[in-house]
């Protein structure tokens, strides 16, 4: 079971998780990214590349399902304007046992940060600024590269 969604509607984590009920897996790992409120951001604006985004997320989810033999994977990403404390992204992996579920969940969020066409703009005191890519995000994504 794969579920992908990109939407400008508020992300309801509890409602998303329901999709994993009844799949028979013994382990569900999830990650939720929220707009932090600790650095003076008043609003976060998320732009994306419609069509390419969904394709990238679907490719990512299938890769996780195959690599960790998941029974379910969810990737939901918010776009548009959002406030501190609101969820931006939710990923979940359901597997028979906990190690593959936890690993696949980390993989999904690490690789989403580098593989999916989203761009963040932060608004502070009325001024908008595009967020730059972090080298730590590239390193986190690179660690999932398979040996040849």
């Amino acid at each position: 079971m794969i579920r992908i969604r990109v939407s400008d509607a508020p992300l309801n984590v509890a409602a998303e998780t329901v999709a994993l009920d009844g799949l028979g897996g013994g382990a569900v790992a999830t990650f939720t990214g929220l707009v932090r409120s600790d650095d003076g951001v008043d609003e976060l604006l998320l732009e994306h590349y419609p069509g390419a985004t969904e394709a990238a997320l679907e490719k990512l989810a299938w890769e996780a399902v195959e690599r960790w033999t998941l029974v379910g994977a969810i990737v939901v990403h918010r776009v548009g304007a959002m406030k501190p404390g609101e969820p931006i992204v939710f990923v979940a992996a359901c597997a028979a046992h906990r190690a593959p579920a936890l690993e696949a969940c980390s993989f999904l969020i690490d690789r989403l940060k580098t593989d999916a066409p989203f761009w963040k703009r932060e608004v502070r005191g009325g001024e908008a600024r595009w967020v730059g890519q972090r080298s730590s995000d590239r390193d986190a994504a690179d660690k999932w590269a398979k040996p040849n």
Partner: protein
């Protein structure tokens, strides 16, 4: 004709989200296309990433037959 689409500060710098262009035959790669387009904001190619027909590619990828080329900054989602 190829549609060129821009995102984030690249879109803002170019001043439009999309343009349809008809590059000459010597424009072979995405990098060639970027040079040929001649937009000031596209000058530093190390800051740019690209997709051809919605698939991420390196800038030396060919654009032959492409319907859509996207040019944008490194992604920052999640």
């Amino acid at each position: 004709m190829v549609d060129v689409v821009y995102f984030a500060w690249v879109r803002e710098g170019v001043g439009k989200a999309q343009e349809s262009v008809d590059p000459p035959a010597e424009v072979v790669t995405v990098a060639d296309l970027i040079d040929w387009l001649g937009h000031e904001v596209l000058r530093d190619k190390t800051r740019l990433r690209a997709a051809v027909d919605q698939l991420f590619v390196p800038l030396d990828a060919p654009i032959a037959g492409a319907r859509e080329v996207a040019i944008f900054p490194p992604v920052t989602g999640g």
